[in-house]
Symmetry: C2
Subunit: 196 residues, 2 copies
């Protein structure tokens, strides 16, 4: 039976998680079987269970790993001394870069988290809400300091995060513009607006 192929610095479990993220993104969590995953990894289904307990565990690992990445970044932004507008730009750039470079896992954490089991589901929901509220608080602060227009902060958060999820279409398309151009364009449109 073939062994699970690993790249330097990545464990077998990491290889499984990475292949699973790709499958969950393409076929959804519900539409992916352990057999599909075993095939993608290139081993028998039984040998997957030496490394992970279940499909549910894989989704947990993906969602909480992605949550950690964004939460740690937000915590650094919250305590730094930048202006609100610089903080918002940093958060946007971080999201854009992760949607570009870590697409499969970020996409799955964003779209498939509803399939988590308890207690992970409730916990993830609370973290997600908390994360958005903390970005809204940065925007509120920018409005008070007259750096930002007087807009509804939760609406701005919702729009920014959804606009960035549009990078999904960029991945699917022929990518006529580079990742760097995509990032710069998105920052201009969201922060400065379309109007000249």
């Amino acid at each position: 039976m073939p062994a699970i192929k690993t790249q330097r610095h990545s464990s077998k479990k990491e290889v499984i998680i990475s292949k699973a993220a790709k499958l969950f993104r393409e076929k959804s969590f519900s539409g992916t079987s352990m057999r599909d995953l075993a095939e993608a990894v290139g081993v028998e289904a039984a040998s997957l269970y030496n490394h992970i307990q279940s499909k549910a565990e894989i989704l947990q690992v993906i969602c909480f790993k992605v949550a950690n990445i964004f939460m740690e970044h937000l915590e650094r932004i919250e305590v730094n001394q930048q202006s609100s507008i610089e903080k918002i730009k940093d958060i946007l750039r971080f999201h854009i870069q992760h949607m570009i470079n870590n697409f499969e896992e970020v996409y799955v954490a964003d779209r498939e988290w509803r399939h988590l089991n308890e207690p992970y589901l409730s916990n993830f929901k609370v973290q997600r809400k908390n994360y958005r509220q903390r970005i809204a608080a940065i925007i509120e602060n920018g409005i008070q300091k007259k750096e930002l227009k007087s807009i509804d902060a939760p609406t701005a958060v919702l729009m920014m995060l959804h606009a960035i999820s549009g990078i999904e279409s960029w991945h699917r398309s022929k990518q006529k513009i580079s990742a760097e151009q995509l990032e710069e364009n998105m920052i201009v449109i969201l922060v400065e607006g379309l109007e000249k």
Copy 2:
């Protein structure tokens, strides 16, 4: 056996389509059975087939009905004499209002169209691409006339349409702001930007 209840001015088929849109949105197209639909309509599954041929037909009706609504609007906008910025605002407001008031059908057409059968699938894909290209052309025109910033037009279209799909979260939330406030905030953020 109970008859399908209709409201004034709506046919039985319209009632079925409307209930189906709600179910497809909540449970996805794949996750909804004709039995679920019959239950939601309040009739036996067999009697649905007096009005529609299949689940596939319902998805076709929803997708092409929504496509007609947006395409007809775009055609009116293309030929009117407004500035590019006014045209873009009109398109955004139209999308926002339909995501608010015609949520179930617009959501299903946007998210579940990949489940269409051929020849509808290819046809819908082409229309979708064409629709986005024509909005991009309006933006390009605005850039040439110096009404809009020199941004990548397809990226702007992708971001605007995805940002508006964020209204899904507004529907799920406790709706702390009204539909009118939501629309005004979205227009300000997308057209004028966050920065003061």
